[in-house]
């Protein structure tokens, strides 16, 4: 067990969100999960237009409102107040999940409790006997959206790795994650396992490997 799991090392939450936003192409339809994923919307690079879907029934979700224009009937999937951009539209839940299940959303960014080297995701339940299971739309999102990005701290609060050979928690979906953005690195899920495509400033391959529960590969640009 590692003695230090300083979360200030590597990227901060905002930087993780910003790094993720770089990988979202102009014109994408994107669903953002609760937590750090929500912050991605603030960092879309200049010149790109991205449309955000929130599964409770809005396409064209805008930023949080000021207190005057807040409406308890206008919220996102995390039940936080949001706004609607010009060109937005509202629809009911079956139509909203038709967008998800029917492969119409391009990218989904989610949080994670665990990710396995084959891209299995666990983010809804610890499976503990007294856990109140709550799944929300997570299983629909990973089953229906082709590109699933995960943003997560590299380790748990107690310093345990979240990137593993196999998930020990109940799965949200099997082989669904494409890329993981942690505070330490950007990591692709490949047929050979986890592969580092970018390291956070000041973070070494070995440092990340020590905090990862599966062998890491590295993109050739870091390989010398």
């Amino acid at each position: 067990m590692l003695t230090s799991n300083n979360l200030q090392l590597g990227w901060r939450r905002e930087e993780m969100a910003k790094r993720t936003a770089l990988d979202i192409p102009d014109g994408s339809y994107v669903n953002l999960g609760i937590g750090i994923p929500e912050m991605v919307a603030q960092y879309v690079p200049e010149g790109r237009e991205v449309i955000y879907h929130t599964e409770n029934g809005l396409l064209g979700m805008g930023p949080a409102p000021t207190s005057e224009n807040s409406d308890p009937d206008l919220i996102n999937a995390g039940k936080k107040a949001v706004t609607a951009i010009p060109g937005a539209c509202f629809f009911h839940h079956a139509d909203s999940f038709a967008m998800i299940r029917g492969h119409h959303i391009d990218i989904c960014v989610l949080g994670a409790m665990q990710v396995s080297k084959q891209g299995d995701l666990a983010n809804w339940s610890t499976g503990e006997p007294d856990d109140i299971p709550a799944v929300g739309g997570a299983m629909d999102l990973v089953a229906g959206i082709k590109t699933i990005y995960v943003i997560t701290q590299h380790c748990t609060k107690t310093g345990d790795p979240k990137l593993l050979e196999f998930c020990s928690y109940p799965l949200t979906g099997k082989a669904v994650v494409s890329r993981i953005y942690t505070n330490l690195a950007v990591i692709d899920v490949t047929s050979g396992g986890f592969k580092i495509v970018e390291l956070a400033p000041g973070i070494s391959f070995d440092y990340v490997q020590e905090r990862t529960g599966s062998k890491l590969l590295i993109d050739h640009q870091y390989n010398d």
Partner: protein, 237 residues
């Protein structure tokens, strides 16, 4: 003459019987028909199966209905919202049953129930514990589970504007489950912010056609769940 207007909350839900299955609209407090839920507490129907995305917050609305011991089973996707205290306690004590359904599968099951589709296949939940015991089948090289249409004896929903035919429009994301629940229930009971004359709503913008609605009651100034919770209110007080 077709006139679905009704002016007593208690009368609106008076025929909800013990053991009924009830769909309740809303995603969190957005779209929650809180006055109708409180009326249901007043009429004391019990042993209810309730279908809602969540399990309510604080001690008002759906949480109060559960706390009042009227609900024996919840069918929902996310039973532990922030501020949800009532359900977790009862669930841990084995006092209430839970059928956990992924949110999109829940929506599609309700829509199927309303559209006369008894069962369908979806890839959602495959390879997870929620697919356990379900019939699996491959289509286009991918594994799917079979899910059943979901119907109810009653639906309680909230809308923005209604006419005497029961044509409805909604406000923003408060629409959520209401249009599909209206389709899937034998009796659909609606609380509306405004009641208008029958030629007021443009036929192009009706979201729920009146055919899916049985009763409409005007609640022009509904209470706001989060405000009640912030004030520490409970129902019945």
């Amino acid at each position: 003459m077709i006139d679905k207007r009704i002016d007593s909350l208690t009368a609106a839900v008076a025929d909800v019987f013990d053991g009924a299955t009830i769909m309740i609209g809303g995603f969190g407090e957005a779209g929650s028909p809180i006055e109708l839920i409180h009326a249901l507490i007043d009429v004391r129907a019990k042993d209810l199966t309730v279908i809602n995305n969540n399990t309510g917050s604080g001690h008002v609305g759906l949480a109060a209905l559960i706390e009042n011991g009227q609900v024996s089973k919840m069918i929902c996707s996310y039973p532990r919202t922030l501020g949800s205290k009532v359900f977790p306690k009862l669930y841990r004590n084995g006092k209430i049953e839970l059928e956990l359904v992924p949110q999109g599968t829940l929506a599609e099951r309700i829509r199927a129930g309303g559209a006369g589709i008894p069962a369908f296949f979806t890839a959602t939940s495959v390879d997870t514990p929620l697919a356990a015991g379900k019939e699996h089948r491959h289509f286009n090289g991918r594994n799917h589970v079979m899910e059943y249409g979901l119907k109810a004896d009653f639906a309680l929903i909230k809308c923005k504007c209604a006419d005497r035919y029961g044509n409805l429009t909604y406000n923003k994301t408060a629409r959520n489950f209401a249009p599909i629940m209206a389709m899937a229930a034998t009796k659909t009971i609606v609380q509306t912010g405004t009641l208008v004359e029958v030629d007021t709503i443009d036929p192009e913008i009706v979201v729920t056609p009146g055919i899916f609605v049985d009763r409409v009651i005007a609640i022009s100034d509904p209470v706001q769940e989060s405000k009640l919770i912030a004030e520490g209110m409970s129902y019945p007080c």
